[in-house]
Amino acid sequence: MTRENFQKLSAALLLIVSFGLPLVLRSPTYLHILILLYLYAYLTTSWNLVGGFAGVLPLGHAAFFGIGAYTSTVLFLQYGISPWIGMVLGGIMASIVGVIIGLPTFKMRGAYFALATIAFGEGMRVMVENIDYLGPFNLNGPRGLQIPPLNVGLANLMFVNKEPYYYIILIMLIAVLMLTYTISCSKLGYYLNAGGEEPEAAKALGVNVARCKLIAMAMSSFLTALAGVFYAQLTLFIHPKSVISLDLSFEIAFIALIGGRGSIAGPVLGALLLRPVSDFSRIYFGHILPGLHLIIFGTVLILVMIFQPRGLQEPLTKAYHRLLDRLTEKPTEKE
């Protein structure tokens, strides 16, 4: 078997397993955990366009998630517009906000950029908590919005069972992974990486660093908003603390940093590792230590940063390649 065939085979196997899982796994709880796992992998991959490729650390992505969730929910509740259309509109809204936020903040470096984005995300949450009516739109302040589960079906992105949600988020995840892979091999990907690592050198090589970052930000916030819509339709109840929370922004960054920023596999590996920790610590220790998962995340993050500063994807990809070598090449005899 050649190396390429083996890689194709393992990818196909992975696809079959992930698509076939709901046929075996009947428990809605476990399906829900998996749905959230994919959702976070999706969110982190979207975040990675800015946080990984462009080399900055945005910590306010929950705001875009919230913009998506609120846009589609308000449109659905007040005007009966399908959440699928809400996805597009919410995405566009988030892109516009993302670019407006990016214009001044991309001039900042390191921690200052991170702090500015935290402030933006938190500001957004406090605003929504204190606004009942934004013009004609009813945001209902801190009480949040509830979507009555009527007219279930694909057209309204609303289902009784978990399986359809599972497939939708799985397809979204695969699509976003393919998109980021394509970008990483394109001119934009090269320019983002160059501008993130050495902005002065990149500019001298013809890269308009600020414009590339804004394009990445627009894409990233658009994709994040789509996840917000999905989440709103999954839980059918959103409120500021659930969709615009700082915890969400931080968890995305945790997953990315531990998995490996700037790589394609990093966000998925990070989510695979951290989401179960988060869910099971909430199930088993939620009543004793409600924030236990964050303590675990912090410890893991410190360890990873000390021993594998590029994230866990690096040693894992190396191990995978070594495995490939061993499986595909016959041990050659030394002459």
Binding site: C185, K187, Y190, Y191, N193, E200, L205, G206
Partner: protein, 241 residues
Amino acid sequence: MKILEVKNLVKNFGGLRAVDDLSLTIEEGQILGLIGPNGAGKSTAFNCIAGVYPPSDGEVYFFGEKINNHNPWDLCKKGLARTFQIVKPFASKTVLYNVTVGGYVHTEKRAKAEEKALEVLKYIDLYDKKDMKAGKLTIADRKRLEIARALATGPKLLLLDEVMAGLRPTEVDKMVEIIKDLRDNGITFFVIEHIMRAIMALSDRIVVIHYGQKISEGRPEEIASDERVIKAYLGEEYGVS
């Protein structure tokens, strides 16, 4: 034809005048050297020309077009490339990746950008190391990588900021050969250099600046015997009187 013309360039940093009334021209196909003691304003002059700093006063013309307030990336697309005194490789990426970034200037296609990058890497003798991480290169190779990246953008004028500092004598000779060969292939050079042996061997003409002002200009042998230049480098008491 004049490829670059600098007229009465001034750059102030607060109360400090780093470049003071500097004028010079470079003809197409020439190698112009820029020398001067530490802190004379050489790199600042480069940064003003390359669009990093806007000049406080004066004009810069590239192929007759005024480029005072152009961005570095636009200048690069027009054919004005530069290297940095302190090398700035994209350290976590491979050598090929580094050069491909430059190769993307005139194309959207990765294949074309990489083709250009490989061509440059072969030419500059870094092809064997194309898959190495740029951060793991030796200083000599990093300097060559700086030039390779700039060459991949297809420049007409290349500003080299001390690309020979820190190199061994044999490496310096090699670099001189490379630059001369590139000039013969139609690239004009504006070179800052501290290694006198190299700049004398390389330059068609040399401009000397001191405290931001031009104190001498001429062919290398004229500069070497110019009293003002010797005084600037060695101090007043060393004048050949």
